[in-house]
């Protein structure tokens, strides 16, 4: 076995009294793809920040050896100098600069401070070829989708003669096609001899590309698995991650489906800024009492646009169509009206559109239904406190009390607060947009249980998700949306990932008429 390219031994790091890393060991062999998995808060990001020098030498305990040398990084510049490049979950590109400007940002191809544009463009083109991105070097980054931006980040890393590439949840916001392409690229880079650390929640990706897996839990390494002998079962990984058997990833439920409650007919939406582009092209859908209905589709199919346009016309223009509740047409032209008619929309972007991060759990919980805790527009703090505390308990939000600020919570707990907010508005219909995005396995199960419970209480759930197993595991019926149209509808019993994919692919994914 080759000598490890990277060795981290006995890593410890704490923030005040909180131990983020208590004992992490990591050994990465040259030329492998090494996956690091663990629940949110397990210490993955902290570990990578230590490795890349964000937390400088002296702020942590433990030993880092890279290429046989002991390293004392004082900052990111030191680690980059040795060829350790990290690509963060939140991409760090400047949107209004071009691809080549971004790639050489801080490393401009210049002589005496004058940029040599030809050299930059030529080198950029070579790098883009390497990552398989067919765009002109002068294209502005803002015009690219997230998947392509990710490739630009990787090209940027390659421009720095990377020896160890670290990707922090690179596919969290990518659809399946783009994720697939990215995984292929990683395998290609591996063939070129680049070592890679991949942090991901998506076990299917990991089992596809990883050579070794290190599993972290509560700031410590709990297992290091070698995949070269054969694929490691997902169940084993999950068991290590959560520290308990997870017999079933989805809670059991016995659907009790009643009459049709929520109905949308001939819904058409045009693009928010380009009025001539039709994004939703005549969608009909219905949800019955106690039913969980899924909407599958690739990114860009119009799922979020559909949901948001129904919910108070929060997206798009020139919207037409009808919304019915219990057979009666309702007016959903503003979010207030939609909420008053019993519709709730849990956004896919909980930080950007779901929470007021600087405010506390209690404020966020009551925000969509302030009337319920107010008397003549004066907020009754006691009522608010008890309402927020009740949801905190029911949804098992882990915090000291309801006065903790949302920004300090983990992703899963933030999502529970967003759910609390919408449950407190007492909706009949919940539209859940990627309800488990960026949430660890344990918290996912809790969110699923909440969803199942809501359906059992007789509410209608419309669930949008990019993760097909999640839809198959939770839903009673699944619509497949592609290019603004429903191209298929399956009862849960008949649906499978292959069928859904086939429906998308055979309908002509690039139908942009």
């Amino acid at each position: 076995m080759a000598e490890a390219i990277l060795e981290m031994r006995g890593m410890k790091k704490s923030f005040h009294a909180v131990k983020a890393l208590s004992d992490v060991n990591l050994s990465v062999r040259p030329g492998e793809i090494h996956a690091i998995v663990g629940e949110n808060g397990a210490g993955k990001s902290t570990l990578m920040k230590v490795l890349s020098g964000v937390y400088p030498y002296g702020e942590y305990e433990g030993e880092i050896r890279f290429l046989g040398q002991e390293c004392h990084f004082k900052g990111i510049a030191d680690s980059e100098h040795l060829g350790i490049i990290i690509i963060h979950q939140e991409l760090a590109l400047v949107p209004l600069l071009s691809i080549s400007e971004n790639i050489f940002l801080g490393n401009e191809q210049a002589r005496h401070g004058v940029i040599d544009w030809n050299a930059s463009h030529l080198k950029t083109r070579a790098l883009l070829d390497k990552v398989g991105l067919k765009e002109l070097p002068g294209t502005l980054v803002t015009q690219l989708g997230v998947g392509k931006q990710q490739l630009v980040e990787i090209a940027k890393a390659l421009s720095k003669e990377v020896k160890l590439l670290i990707l922090d949840e690179p596919t969290a916001s990518l659809n399946e096609t783009d994720s697939d392409a990215l995984m292929n690229l990683l395998l290609e880079l591996k063939r070129q001899g680049i070592t890679c650390i991949l942090i991901s929640h998506k076990l299917n990706e990991i089992s596809r590309v990883a050579d070794s897996i290190t599993i972290l839990r509560d700031g410590a390494t709990v297992a290091s698995l070698d995949c070269s002998a054969g694929a490691v079962g997902e169940d084993i990984v999950i068991r290590h991650m959560v520290g308990r058997e997870m017999a079933d990833r989805y809670p059991p439920r016995t659907p009790a489906i009643g009459e049709t409650v929520f109905e949308v007919k001939n819904w058409k939406v045009h693009h928010e800024t380009h009025a001539e582009r039709e994004i939703i092209k005549g969608v009909d859908l219905h949800v019955k009492r106690g039913e969980i209905v899924g909407i599958a589709g690739l990114m860009g199919a119009g799922r979020t646009e559909l949901a948001m346009s129904i919910f108070g016309r929060s997206y798009g223009q020139r919207i037409s169509g009808q919304v019915f509740m219990h057979g009666k047409e309702i007016d959903t032209r503003t979010t207030r009206k939609a909420i008053d008619h019993g519709i709730a929309y849990v956004t896919e972007d909980r930080k950007g559109c779901g929470l007021v991060l600087e405010e506390c759990i209690a404020w966020n919980t009551t925000l969509a239904n302030l009337r319920a805790i107010a008397h003549h527009e004066v907020v009754d703090e006691a009522r608010e406190f008890s309402a927020a505390s009740e949801f905190r308990r029911k949804l098992n939000v882990r915090s000291q009390n309801v006065y903790e600020r949302a920004v300090n919570l983990s992703g899963g707990n933030q999502q529970k607060v967003v759910l609390s907010k919408w449950l407190f508005s007492r909706p009949e219909v919940l539209i859940l947009d990627e309800p488990t995005r960026g949430i660890d396995v344990g918290a996912k199960y809790e969110i699923y249980s909440i969803i199942a419970q809501l359906a059992a209480e007789g509410r209608c759930v419309l669930m949008i998700s990019s993760e097909m197993p999640e839809l198959l595991g939770m839903c009673d019926r699944i619509y497949v949306l592609n290019a603004g149209r429903f191209v298929a509808e399956f009862p849960a019993a008949e649906a499978s990932q292959e069928k859904i994919m086939r429906a998308i692919v055979t309908s002509g994914a690039n139908d942009n008429a």
Binding site: R336, T347, G352, C353, W363, R393, K394, N396
Partner: protein
């Protein structure tokens, strides 16, 4: 970390949780609320500093009265500005608007002999209309407030000049002047001590203590109190003592100024609205995360619009107070006020990115600026270095905020 049985919406399995079992100790609480206490402590320290440096002139009843009068219009505008800033906007036009409204008031009362109450009402409505005109572009057309109100600043500065035709107009009717120069009447006729004023001051202190105690008891009863009792008692005792001392000092001169009463009523009202009402909540949500607020059913556009209307009315009121104080409307009235008003809000802890800030913070911020102005003037520091020092204090206050946040 994970309990085995989830059933999140099922009946509560665990015993009633002690919500605040892990109650923070005093030091921790102080640390977390450093901003609030720190601000008040800074004001006291700054007052102490100037009290010493001016050989006791600062807290002399006459000077204290002047301090209130000099800062009243800034504080009135700071109340509105705080809402605008919390909502995520800014208003650069308030100085010009207050000057313009003062000019309109003068022309109405002096040249057209309109009754002072009617004229005052017209001016307040006019301020509201001006606020609406600017807020319309900001709220409904998403034009950045900085630009809209920069335009407004030029427009109303120019209009003030036009209305006054370049000269000063005055004097105002005596009844109108009372707004700024009057004191509350004293039927007991105490010469050395204005008894009504002092009693009113005591009553205010008492009211404050009672309402705070009630709130504390209520929160404790529901297990929601996070502030340690000892700190709470020290805080309200200090507040009550300060109000009592302040009103005593003022009472030994001419009593409480009318404008102080106007100010206090407004401060109390705005504090209540921002902290306790749904409207206040919504403004904080709007500034904190506009998208989240809109998706939570809040009419964010109307709310932004209304903060500007409110700002316009308060700018008009400030214009009236200032005009009444000078007893003339001059073309230079209001010039630069916006800077003091905005500085007061930021010193008071408001965040330039919106969503953060308290009414009482802005008021204390205004007083910090006021005490520095006043103290430095008494010390004979020229207007040149006064500006330098004020600028540095503003920078320091905001840097401290940023630093605290990072920690």
């Amino acid at each position: 970390m994970h309990s085995e049985s989830h059933g999140p919406l099922s009946a509560v399995s665990a015993a009633t949780e002690k919500e605040l079992a892990a109650r923070l100790d005093h030091a921790q609480f102080l640390k977390n609320n450093l901003r609030e206490y720190g601000l008040l402590i800074s004001l006291v320290v700054i007052m102490g500093f100037f009290e010493v440096m001016t050989d006791g002139t600062l807290l002399q009843p006459l000077n204290l009265t002047n301090l209130v009068l000099q800062n009243s219009y800034i504080i009135v505008m700071a109340l509105g500005m705080l809402l605008v800033i919390v909502a995520g906007h800014i208003d650069l036009s308030v100085g010009s608007v207050s000057g313009f409204i003062g000019a309109v008031a003068a022309v109405l009362m002096v040249e057209y002999h309109v009754h002072f109450l009617l004229a005052g009402l017209i001016c307040l409505v006019g301020g509201g209309v001006i606020g609406a005109a600017q807020g319309y572009w900001v709220a409904y057309h998403k034009v950045p407030a900085f630009i809209v109100t920069l335009a407004g600043m030029l427009v109303f500065k120019g209009l003030a000049l036009a209305v006054l035709q370049g000269s000063s107009v005055g004097p105002f009717p005596p009844e109108f002047q009372l707004l700024s120069t009057g004191f509350i009447p004293d039927p007991f006729g105490g010469e050395s001590l204005r008894i009504t004023s002092f009693i009113l001051g005591l009553a205010m202190a008492l009211a404050l203590v009672i309402s705070k105690l009630r709130g504390h008891a209520d929160r404790t009863k529901h297990g929601m109190e996070t502030e340690p009792r000892a700190l709470f008692i020290i805080k309200i005792a200090a507040f009550a003592a300060m109000i009592t001392a302040f009103s005593y000092l003022l009472s030994t001169y001419r009593g409480l100024p009318n404008v102080l009463i106007v100010m206090l009523v407004l401060i109390a009202a705005y504090d209540f609205v921002t902290i306790r009402t749904t409207v206040g909540r919504r403004i904080y949500a709007l500034g904190g995360n506009e998208k989240a607020a809109r998706l939570s059913g809040i009419n964010t556009e109307r709310l932004s619009f209304l903060t500007f209307v409110n700002m316009g009315v308060l700018a008009a009121l400030a214009g009236l107070i200032f005009a009444a104080r000078l007893n003339t409307a001059t073309p230079k009235a209001g010039v630069g006020f916006e800077l003091d008003v905005i500085a007061a809000c930021f010193i008071g802890g408001a965040s330039a990115s919106g969503g953060v800030g308290r009414v009482l913070g802005a008021v204390i911020g205004a007083f910090i600026m006021g005490v520095m102005n006043n103290g430095m003037s008494i010390m004979g520091i020229g207007i040149d270095y006064q500006q330098v020092i004020k600028g540095l204090v503003l920078l320091a206050a905001v840097c401290l905020d940023v630093y605290n946040k990072k920690k």
